[in-house]
């Protein structure tokens, strides 16, 4: 290492000037690499230019601040960058602005109170209360240390909710793993077995949520080979706040309070390694980057923050996540047009011998930053003390828009905030790589019972009860619709929370995720995820829906990966706009690649709806024998990416599309029918299609069902029983209606495609008749239930 | 005097040890010829006391009062100076 690039300052602690002025391009890159800041040449040059104008070299702490603030993880360079085609023509100037944020801007809905601005999106609830929602990705840390990674992911997203002054009321989690029977000898070096990752991640999420007393109410688990080396962990949190307590008004003279856990070396460089591909060495090299979780610390912090909020003693709040103090203080000062002056030696440490730059960027968990007026200092510190939380004034906000950090009377950071928050825009190339896919030809069998049992016990559909029961999903006593419902615990489409004691209004939480469609076409994958999240929400009675987007994608520097991302973003705009459902928050995780390939492009859509009266919530379980069963919306021969094709060993190419006019009409009519009390039970059709939906509704209780495929509204050329049973066409619902409501129900569904396709039975027989009237499925519902329940029990 | 006390709290015989059983099962799954696994908790306590016997008395009390539940736990300890 050429010594001349780094000059150690003669001070009693570690502080280094980095010789940037006059450094050549290759030296700039060398510095970036050696400091582990993952800045590219253009960015390094921009910093070099900035410091030449200042006429001095930056310190290590300053360069680390750039490394954090300009990272993909913090700044979302790709989503905010310019996208060009391979021949250099501009395609889109800013994917985030022109696809995601544009939906919200154009819909311009009065109930969207704060979108994309803060740690979480905020929408109106009722009576002066608002809902805050956020979903995070925590893929890279979870791949390396599943328990710690998933736990801190949960802790982080809960702090995002606290970071907008909201009280967390529910958590969600959506996880993607490699198959649990993946052969050990095929595992790439440095990759942990899916079983190990599964156990660790699930335990980590449960550990954090359970300890904090926040119910984990909704989620999904998906298995696919592409996740073997690229585990996907989405952690979400929903909170409630009185709107008039939301404050973001930091002013010069305000004190910066750091509260919560102590600062240590944990998480140092967590940000920068998350923005680079995982390699076989990641396991060793990245270990110290994974943070250690202490949920009880955060529970206490939460109590103190809510008290400070309710007494209106603070002027702003934000969480410490990626980039630690450097990002939190910088952002809080920047967004309020202030500067900040921090004394790093005031920061309470876990252990001595931490360099100033490490204190500055450490990602130790369970810390929050508050700005408060001087006059409230004693009151605020007293509240923290009562709650057994350590809180320290670490500096103050200034009027000069400069970020100044001292350590033992030596200045270690002195940065112009405007420059710090204006990184050079990135330019990336996208191309569409057409896929060579074919539709399989599968021999049609007469008896489809075996196929149904096969699908219902396949890992993606089988009951996740063993996971659901390891999460406390009813702490707080407000969970109206739980993940498992009915006498035998069938799978509800969405969770309903009743957050206010004084009101019957509920928050409806659902999600949509269709990774296997992403293998065929990211556009329809995104459209399907949106449709699924919305129909899950609507099917329990949700409406006035807002969306959160979470992308897990490969390396955006590879044009085909970016080409797919671009298509998914376009679909986000097209369909969210058409459904009238604004995006309120989102997060992307890119670089999900390993030596064995990329994670399947995976978009998680989380939908947050409301229901005016939770007592009108519709659940999945069949209510009575002798009721009519309606299928709403058209079934198409869309089996590409379906569980049926997967069972037969194929992917196919006829990916389900979304037909907007039909979808919108269906949703509006169904909501009306639910409000009129005409719907006894309802379940959307998703993975596994009609047959799986009917099975889940039936085996949640003890009764049977008889269905006729002949009556299913379908496209003209659909003749095959297996395709009708297992097609995964979007926007469809199966609905139980009492005979006496037949007319009213049909009246309310006027203009939609619908048909009665069968009825519920007292006998526990599950029977499906084919288009020719012959019986194609004949099985007892308890046999279906056992297959569904037992498949994952022993395996994971 | 400073003493370094190593306290081990383990389950009394006859009580189920679900943690140990789970670990054993998992180790067997990984192909190790494991017959049984027992879990115990180890606390390292740095204690200041006037004498070795005083340190022993305090340690015994700490174990009974907090670290072990006599219904199900055995405890043992050894004390070193320093």
């Amino acid at each position: 290492m050429p010594i001349s690039l780094y000059v150690k300052r003669n001070v009693p602690f570690e502080l280094t000037d980095v010789h940037l002025l006059g450094a050549k391009d290759e030296q700039l890159l060398q510095i970036s690499r050696e400091l582990g800041v993952a800045l590219n040449l253009e960015e390094m040059r921009s910093i070099q230019g900035h410091f030449s104008r200042k006429g001095r070299d930056p310190t290590d702490a300053e360069l680390q601040t750039f490394g954090q603030t300009w990272s993909e993880h913090c700044f979302h360079k790709t989503f905010k960058g310019k996208i060009i085609s391979e021949d250099g023509k501009p395609i889109v100037d800013n994917m985030f602005k022109e696809y995601i944020a544009k939906v919200t801007k154009e819909l311009d809905l009065p109930w969207c109170l704060s979108v994309f601005e803060d740690n979480a999106g905020i929408v109106d609830f009722e009576d002066g209360y608002a809902i805050a929602a956020k979903v995070e990705t925590h893929n890279h840390p979870s791949a390396i240390e599943p328990f710690g990674g998933a736990a801190t992911g949960t802790g982080g997203v809960i702090r995002d909710i606290l970071g907008v002054w909201a009280d967390p009321v529910a958590c969600t989690d959506v996880l993607c793993f490699g198959p649990s029977d993946y052969p050990y000898d095929k595992l790439p070096a440095g990759t942990k077995h899916p079983k190990y990752l599964f156990r660790g991640v699930v335990a980590g999420i449960g550990h954090y949520g359970n300890n904090m007393g926040i119910p984990t109410v909704n989620g999904a688990i998906y298995f696919d080979k592409s996740y073997v080396s690229n585990v996907v962990v989405y952690c979400g949190c929903i909170g409630i706040l009185p709107i008039d307590t939301f404050v973001k008004d930091t002013r010069p003279g305000d004190i910066a309070i750091l509260a919560g856990g102590r600062t240590g070396k944990d998480g140092i460089h967590g940000v920068t390694f998350a923005s680079a591909e995982l390699t076989a060495e990641s396991e060793e090299v990245s270990r110290p980057a994974v943070q250690i979780a202490n949920p009880i610390e955060e529970e206490k912090l939460k109590r103190a923050i809510i008290r400070i909020r309710d007494q209106k003693l603070a002027s702003a709040i934000t969480d410490l996540g990626a980039g630690g103090i450097s990002c939190a203080v910088g952002e809080m000062a920047h967004r309020s047009n202030c500067g900040a002056h921090v004394q790093l030696e005031e920061v309470p440490l876990k252990h001595p011998d931490i360099a100033p730059w490490e204190i500055h960027v450490s990602e130790s968990q369970e810390r929050m930053l508050l700005s408060i007026r001087k006059k409230h200092l004693q009151q605020v510190l007293a509240i923290f003390k009562t709650e057994d939380v350590e809180a320290t004034a670490i500096g103050s906000f200034t009027g000069d828009k400069v970020f100044k950090v001292d350590y033992q009377e030596h200045n270690v950071v002195n940065l112009d905030l405007h420059f710090l928050f204006t990184p050079p825009r990135i330019r990336r190339t996208a191309k569409r790589k057409p896929q060579k896919l074919t539709e399989p030809s599968i021999a049609e069998t007469v008896d489809l019972t075996k196929d149904l049992l096969g699908i219902i016990s396949s890992p993606n559909i089988a009951s996740k009860e063993s996971v659901v029961r390891s999460y406390d999903h009813e702490v707080k006593g407000n969970t109206v619709l739980k993940p498992l419902h009915g006498r035998h615990g069938g799978p509800n489409d969405a969770a309903v929370i009743k957050p206010l004691a004084s009101s019957w209004r509920g928050v409806v939480i659902s999600c949509g995720i269709n990774p296997s469609y992403g293998k065929i076409d990211p556009y329809w994958m995104a459209a399907s995820a949106i449709d699924e999240a919305i129909r899950n929400n609507v099917s329990v009675g949700g409406r006035r829906i807002s969306l959160l987007d979470n992308f897990t994608w490969g390396n955006p520097e590879k044009p085909d990966r970016l080409g797919g991302l671009l298509r998914a973003c376009r679909a986000c705009y097209d369909f969210a706009k058409a459904f009238g459902t604004p995006f309120i928050s989102g997060k992307d995780s890119l670089y999900n690649e390993s030596p064995t390939g990329q994670a399947t492009p995976t978009l998680l859509i989380t939908a947050i709806g409301i229901i005016p009266d939770v007592r009108k919530t519709v659940s999945v379980d069949v209510k009575k024998p002798g009721n009519l069963v309606y299928l709403i919306s058209q079934t198409y021969p869309e089996l590409g990416g379906s569980e049926y094709y997967r069972l037969k060993g194929y992917l196919g190419k006829t990916v389900p599309q979304v037909r907007m006019s039909q979808a919108r009409r269906t949703i509006n009519s169904l909501t009306k029918a639910i409000d009129s009390g005409l719907v006894e039970s309802c379940h959307d059709l998703s993975e596994g299609g009609l047959a799986v939906t009917a099975a889940e509704m039936t085996f949640s209780e003890d009764c049977g069902i008889e269905l006729n495929l002949r009556d299913v509204p379908k496209s003209r050329f659909m003749k095959r029983n297996d395709y009708i049973m297992f097609s995964e066409s979007n926007s469809r619902f199966l609905i139980e209606v009492a005979v006496r409501h037949r007319e009213d129900f049909e009246k309310s569904m006027k203009g939609c495609v619908y048909a009665p396709v069968g009825e519920t039975r007292k006998e526990r027989d599950f029977s499906i008749h084919g288009v020719e009237g012959d019986q194609v499925v004949d099985v007892r519902t308890n046999v279906l239930r056992d297959a569904w329940k037992s498949a994952l029990r022993g395996r994971t | 005097m400073m003493y370094r006390v190593r306290i081990e709290v383990s389950l009394k015989q006859g009580h189920s040890d679900p943690e140990g059983e789970t670990a054993a099962k998992s180790l067997q799954e990984l192909g190790y010829p494991v017959k049984a696994t027992h879990v115990s908790k180890v606390y390292t306590v740095y204690l200041s006391a006037d004498s070795g016997s005083e340190a022993r008395r305090l340690t015994d009390e700490m174990c009974r009062r907090l670290l072990a539940n006599p219904t199900k736990d055995n405890y043992s300890f050894n004390i070193e100076e320093g």
Binding site: I296, V468, R469, L484, H485, R615, K623 | P18, T71
Partner: protein, 270 residues
């Protein structure tokens, strides 16, 4: 007749079922207050309250053993107050983590008053792991327990459990004798049972934690201190039940309400 029944719901770091417990008491006609242990210690006495409740949660992260740290802390800082209260026959209720605290503090089973060291334990679940789900319990108390006075003996109730350390055990060497003592003193309150009312027989999931003799809740010999693993506050309203959409909308409550009603009624009559 007591006009106002004042209930103190204690909490420390990691307590997390205080709000719903307060809601249940308030609905049942009491005035419940949530008080941080630090605030109670600062105040120095609990004499304003007719009853003390230790709610569910993960006090101190379940470190050492669930409930152990809080138990020692509460006894060290408020022990004399609590003992005074208990001597006066003012009720003390522990739910889930609160039950663990009462056992670790030596207040339960309390064969001969308060014991210095725990006489029982709430050990790691068998099968191992955190379990959140609804269970059936049978009320087996003959009238000693003031917290279940409104519940007929033999009645089956449905409530959820959510814990990782709920397996009630005695020392192996004298468990039968101690069980006999519990029976003789009418200290058994709830035992886990199967859906059709039969004994759970220690079998999962009817007995979700493997507890001895299917014990889910018990009281002291005076019937004024009661601890249970299930969460009655999560079974207070109809809409909290896992199949409420199948039930009759005319009855707005769940089985858990009976515990709160019994306690408030007892206090009001006092």
């Amino acid at each position: 007749m007591q006009e106002d029944v004042r209930i103190c719901i204690l909490r420390v770091g990691g307590t997390n079922c205080d709000a719903e417990t307060k809601r249940a008491f308030d609905d049942a006609g009491a005035k419940a207050e949530i008080v941080h242990l630090n605030e109670a210690v600062e105040k120095g006495n609990l004499s304003d309250y007719n009853a003390i409740v230790i709610p569910g949660g993960f006090s101190y992260g379940d470190h050492v053993r669930a409930g152990a740290i809080w138990a020692k802390e509460v006894m060290a800082k408020l022990g004399s107050e609590l003992l005074k209260l208990a001597e006066e026959g003012r009720p003390v209720l522990g739910i889930c983590n609160g039950f663990q605290v009462l056992v670790e503090a030596g207040l339960l089973p309390g064969f001969k008053g308060v014991s210095k060291y725990p006489e029982a334990a709430l050990a790691t679940n068998v099968p191992i792991g955190y379990y959140c789900g609804w269970v059936h319990v049978r009320h087996v108390n003959s009238g000693r327990c003031i917290f279940t006075q409104k519940i007929p003996k033999g009645k089956m109730l449905r409530m959820p459990v959510a814990h990782a350390e709920g397996r009630f055990i005695f020392s192996k060497e004298n468990e039968e004798a101690l069980l006999e003592q519990l029976r003789d003193n009418d200290q058994l309150v709830f035992v886990f049972c199967s859906e059709n009312g039969g004994p759970a027989g220690g079998k999962y999931p009817a007995n979700p934690n493997g507890s001895f003799y299917d014990i889910a809740g018990l009281c002291n010999a005076e019937g004024t201190i009661f601890g249970l693993m299930p969460h009655p506050e999560r079974a207070y309203y109809r809409w909290q039940q896992p199949d409420w959409t199948q039930t009759d909308a005319a009855s707005p409550y769940g089985d858990g309400r009976l515990v709160f009603e019994s306690m408030v009624e007892y206090l009001k009559a006092k």
